[in-house]
């Protein structure tokens, strides 16, 4: 797939929404052991995998064999465990930030600028973020650690 990118250096005209700011703010933070363990527990139980096979670095699709419906199970289980909301809309918005659809994914695939943003948002999945990635494939980047960071962001947002 070929694509052309023309804008990579625009600066935000306004502050990103709070949820986005929080997601980005925690992207580089260490995951505390208690949250990490709890998220691993929930995901292991939700996917029916042995607890020992679920690590923060595990990719849900490639390492843990999840499919899109399993991903929903995980989202609902985490929402119940932590009393938070993790919507697809919020995740996509967090990925896109203040970029317009055209800036983020012109002609379907995510732009270079969008890929760079995703690498900042999902540092644990940098090597999976390659040209040609489609927006709907973003969940395929998610590791257990991604979910731990989302949980941390949502908990921070709630306080």
């Amino acid at each position: 797939m070929t694509m052309t990118t023309t804008t990579t250096t625009t600066t935000p005209a306004h502050e990103p929404p709070e949820a986005t700011a929080n997601l980005l703010a925690v992207a580089a933070l260490p995951i505390d052991a208690a949250t990490g363990d709890a998220v691993c527990d929930v995901i292991a139980e939700s996917l029916g995998r042995p607890r020992g096979s679920v690590q923060l670095a595990s990719n849900l699709f490639d390492d843990l064999g999840a499919d899109s419906l399993d991903l929903l199970d995980v989202v609902f289980a985490l929402e119940g465990r932590f009393t938070i909301e993790i919507t697809r809309g919020a995740l996509e918005q967090a990925a896109r930030g203040d970029m317009t659809d055209d800036e983020f994914a012109p002609a379907g695939a995510i732009s270079d600028a969008g890929l760079e943003r995703l690498r900042a948002l999902l540092p644990e999945s940098r090597e999976r973020i390659r040209p040609g990635l489609l927006p709907r494939e973003i969940p395929r980047l998610f590791t257990v650690g991604t979910f731990a960071r989302i949980v941390l962001a949502k908990l921070a947002e709630a306080t």
Binding site: G65, L72, V75, E85, T87, R88
Partner: protein
Amino acid sequence: MTRPMTPATTPALTTALTTALTTAMTPEAMLEHLRTRRSVREFTTAPVGRDVLERLIAAAITAPSASNRQPWRFVIVTRAAVRAAIANAVRAATEAIDGAVRTGAHAAEWGSYGDFFWQPLASAAAIIVPAVREPPDPLAGFLRSAGADPARFQLPSAMKPERCALGGAVMALQLQAHAEGLGSAWMAGPMVACAELEAACGIAPPWHMAGAIAVGHPAGPATAPSRKPPDDVTTWMEDG
């Protein structure tokens, strides 16, 4: 033992060829038949004959069941008015669920998923509604007759053997449909209109509807289902 060759295209030769092909079913051919079955959800308007539908049921009842209870019944609906009533009832019940989900935070994830519940029924030439009965548990009866509390024991009924048996029966039905060149899909979605469908099909306790099977001539190629690799779903315990 061998009959003299007859000219091509005679019924006798056709029968002989069919017999030869059937008896020549290899392990590889069997696996290929299993692997090429698809859940088909969109059908042409071509009808499916009663003789074919009878073969599907003949296949279904070959399935094993605990103590050979054969705890299944099948309501086969080809009558257009009843098929439409079934599809419409499932659609209406799905729309009620749609309405509820749309007010929540996960409306985007739900999307049009509910369409899967009724759309295959809308174009199916035949709708087969399986029913299942939970039979009395004779082992519990034996224990009670001896003054023992069945709750103190681990009993086979825990695995819901009647449901497992129905699963085998429907798989056999679907494989026969595949061999007939038909497509089929066994769906849990129609359970959203369980009460309406049981009434329409004359299913009453102790029988309970167990989803619905859409059957018909495929409208086009179905997507190949992905499967978890064998290593992901097996644990081997071997010598050596």
